[in-house]
Amino acid sequence: MTHDAPVIELIGVTREFQVGSQVVKALDGIDLTINYGEMVAITGPSGSGKSTLMNTLGCLDTPTAGTFFLNGNDVSGLSDDQLAEIRSRQLGFVFQSYNLLPRETALANVELPLKYAGGFNRRARWEAARRALDRVGLDHRYDHKPVQLSGGEQQRVGIARALVINPDLILADEPTGNLDTKSSREVISMLRSLNDDDGKTIVIVTHDPEIAEATKRVVTFRDGRIVGDRPSERVLSTGPAEPAGPRSGETE
């Protein structure tokens, strides 16, 4: 995969909802570009449009106006099936409430996206799932079910599931929202490591300023618009940011 185009390019993206007789603009003409290797925090008060943005970036929702380029391809007009295909092949999604299948083991949960992506036999799926679980430090938890795991561990299974298809982009929606401080820090450092060491592009929606500043770039939303877009304090405090742009050829 070439990295000439940005991972994400939103041009005038608008998402309107019909609420009763009123039309609510959850996203109001968003322009946003996120390049390969970036780690971006999306912050803002509740109802500012963060989650709608996340759903749009995650190809679970489509904009009512504007264009969304993912890896250089316009995905704003794709069909339900085509979007499902993109979700299963190009995106990793991490949820606030982990969203693991409660009856399945960690390994089976991580394996799930590969079942829908198709083209992987059982052995290949297991190998990829083990690799992903090893990557998040859960090599001793393959056969544990979610209830047997701590919140932090469950979220790491969630991250492994996002990783298993080896996507360039990982979207995390309040990934630490249900975790204590210690587990939150573990999860964030895991995501940072994926960004720093594996070159994954990471977008995190968060309320938590500490987590926002642990990324590289902070984008602030209010009323469906971007009202702030700045480098994080971590980047500022360590001097001029290392180029956050394309890291061609390294990730694949």
Binding site: N55, G58, L60, D61, D80, D81, A84, E85, R87, S88, R89, F93, F95, N99, L100, L101, R103, E104, L112, P113, K115, Y116, A117, G118, R161
Partner: protein
Amino acid sequence: MGFGLLFSTALGSLGSNKLRASLTLLGIVIGVSSVIAMMAVGRGAQVSVTARISELGTELITVRPGAQALRFAFFGGGGNSDVLSFSDAYALEDDVFAPDVRLAAPENSFSGTAQAGRENTFVNGVGVTAEYLEARNLEIASGRNISNADVLNISLVAVLGSETSERLFGQRDPVGATMKIQGREFTVVGVLKSQQGTIFNPDNSLLVPITTAHYRLNNGKGPIDLMPVSSINVLARGEKVVDDARTEISTVLRLRHKLGAGDEDDFSITTQQDTIETLEGTQGTFVILLGSIAGISLLVGGIGVMNIMLVSVTERTREIGIRRAVGAKRRDIMLQFVTEAVLMTFGGGVLGVAAGWAIAYFGDGATVAGDVIETVIETEIAIMALGVSVAVGLFFGIYPAIRAASLDPIEALRHE
């Protein structure tokens, strides 16, 4: 998602709630097993009746008095019984008017108690001529047949069915022994070979000369020619001339009864083919009735499946959201739920076929309320029942599956 994956995913989901899956399955098992068992009983009855009628020979034509609609030989005579006379029967053997008739054997029925020593039993007896055995395809096991001399002499002789013989005389050979029928003393001259059937069973019958039945047992009067008979068994000269024989019989009887061109027959003629067709029709209705009742229970089972699937979709909304978020297409979700439903009904179908088969197998020959149940298990019915159970799964699974597939993934993920 490939078929194997779909299968294992569905199996896993069902396995996670075994009690619920098995109860749902039970509904289908009961439905399918009752279809199989009912059809086996129904077909069994049909086959045994047809076989028994065919045993009598396809050349047999039965003539009864009265213009009433078709009645079955085993329901006995009745009606306007003085319309057919003994001489009518012999007129049917006329070579000129009825060349296709080989023989005519009139009969008269009577009933009463038969007694031998301390044993006594109620019998439905038949007054016959010598030709009766041939007409009815019966054979003598020991002793001799009723002869035409017996008929002329109004002899007090009897031929026993094998069961009647056993009831009255046990294992002894009754030939030569005396017995009483309605208080009159008879000599047993023969025993019939056992036929072991359920319908037209000659085993528990008792034959006496037709004249004896009329004058001695039924207290009839009048000359022998005018002696009324309850029916005439006619044998045609071959299977192919049965219809010709029927026409000849009709012509002869109309002439003898002096019926005008506009008059209706005062007798009815039934060929074995008529009887088989009518009986098969009746039995067919019987089978359809049994099948429908069983089918209804299968339908109820299907509704149970749909109910459980709908509950399952609601309960697993979040799971559906998760699957959709990681790349499942609507089709994948739909196929998963349809597969679950079909697995349940197919599993129920397989168990149901096994259970129904077992019921039919062990029920064969069982006696229910005095009747011997015969069952015939047909592979076609089993395959059909399996097919229907799969169809039930598809039919009742598709709506819940569509509901599952049409859930909005974002909404589904938010579902608690």
